[in-house]
Symmetry: C2
Subunit: 274 residues, 2 copies
């Protein structure tokens, strides 16, 4: 392994518009260029940023879906190569036989595209998407090993463990967190769970939320970039509007799983008992 | 199942003194009486409140250890019966052949005592204690099903899942959280992890920390009582000194694991993939 290095990651919290594919593609491209211009090496976009989120039904989702050679992923591939960045973003993926998946792509500057299909579906997604059955990938990018999962997946610590145990230093998570009530002054529980997931694995997590009311739903706007100790480096508070979060990660922190002379967050697990 | 009811739980954050068994016993008894007088039905005390924490070695721990019929557990049994409360507290348990465990007892007003032995040992504890090999118990108390684990156990979400899946509505966790650096304005990661553990299981958690410098170590003072949504009902901020936290729990929240029309925090797990 090379000497641990730093990595500059960006979350681009955006407001895609449901069904406006051209608008969303342009919105994403502008955001990627902006983040790269600020020095980002990894740019994370929201879940389903290509299509919008609140489909009426599977037919609408299918009509808005893309395959791997569709215009959005083709554009992300071109931008990743041009800007020499890794792009992680969510899109509505067209599968065979009229099925669709809530997917995310990790696009590398060298041209490789790694897909992840959301395995834990939220609410009405169960009526629309085919769930993924594969664990979150860990991709050995030029910037370090990066994993991908999507939104509600983060509520299953068992799921987050898998890429952490497989060596991910950074988990990129496109999310769309619907907003809800919470006690005054409290950081949203969605962000709190990201913190805990990071801390118990000593793994960086960049969660990129969306904003912009859509079909009666608004969003937490809780994009956050959390360090290996579980504290936010950027995105300490929710913000209802668009925002660009940037943080420089000292990836060496994620290689060091020892948290005391006699403790290691992964080797201390007792899987025979779980 | 009976109609869901409310339960009043207390955390008594105290400053035991290492090796001062009589002092600690009296400190605990006073705290239990005080909490009961405030209406608590379940009283949680810190980890190793009977003995103190920072033993020099196993010999010192052994000399300060007790068995189930020792003076501390005998007193807790008498107080549980007299005050008609459940008591959960940590003690240094004498095992056979000169071994000791970092244990917690759940003492019911009817006289039953349920033991738990810490399964994930922190730092120097590895040189002193024999780890437990049994999952956290879930005890059907008169106030509802209550589970017990200890401190570093909470950093393993797989471990917290076990009593949650077994039906616990409230997890009581005696802890001794050594204090450390954290970013200004941030809630300690120890408390954040409790929040996340509660939210992903829709289970109440009462974590009772200690205070009072001991052999050069001070403590987070992070006692907190968290609801099934993952937000603190009491103990929003750390407090370095002794404190009594009280919260009334609507246990019905913990019976309802559904978080949307199509989601259930436990049934949505995909254990075949983990």
């Amino acid at each position: 392994m090379n000497t641990p290095s730093t990595l500059k990651v960006a979350c681009q919290q955006l407001a895609p518009r449901i069904g406006e594919l051209d608008y969303n593609r342009e919105l994403g491209a502008t955001a990627i260029r902006q983040a790269a211009a600020r020095g980002a090496q990894v740019v994370v976009l929201p879940e389903l940023v290509q299509s919008g989120y609140l489909f009426h039904d599977r037919q609408e989702a299918l009509a808005l879906s893309e395959t791997l050679d569709g215009p959005t992923l083709s554009l992300w591939k071109a931008l990743a190569e041009e800007l020499q960045v890794v792009i992680v973003g969510g899109f509505c993926e067209r599968l065979e036989q009229g099925q669709v998946a809530n997917s995310a792509a990790l696009v590398e500057p060298e041209g490789a595209v790694t897909l992840y299909r959301k395995a834990h579906l939220w609410d009405g997604e169960n009526l629309i998407f085919t769930p993924g059955n594969e664990p979150p990938p860990v991709v050995a990018t030029r910037f370090g090993p990066i994993a991908v999962m999507i939104c509600y997946d983060l509520e299953f610590p068992e799921w987050v463990r898998l890429p952490a145990l497989a060596g991910a230093a950074l988990l990129c998570a496109p999310v769309n967190w619907p907003n809800g009530p919470r006690p005054a002054g409290e950081r949203p529980a969605e962000m709190v769970r990201v913190q805990a997931n990071a801390a118990v694995n000593r793994m960086f997590i960049a969660a990129c939320d969306r904003c912009g009311e859509e079909r009666g739903v608004d969003w937490v706007g809780g994009s956050t970039i959390v360090d290996a100790d579980g504290y936010p480096l950027a995105g300490r508070e929710r913000q209802a509007s668009a925002q660009l979060l940037l943080a420089e990660l000292d990836l060496g922190q994620a290689w060091h799983k020892s948290i005391s002379e006699h403790n290691h967050v992964h080797l201390d697990r007792r899987p025979a008992l779980y």
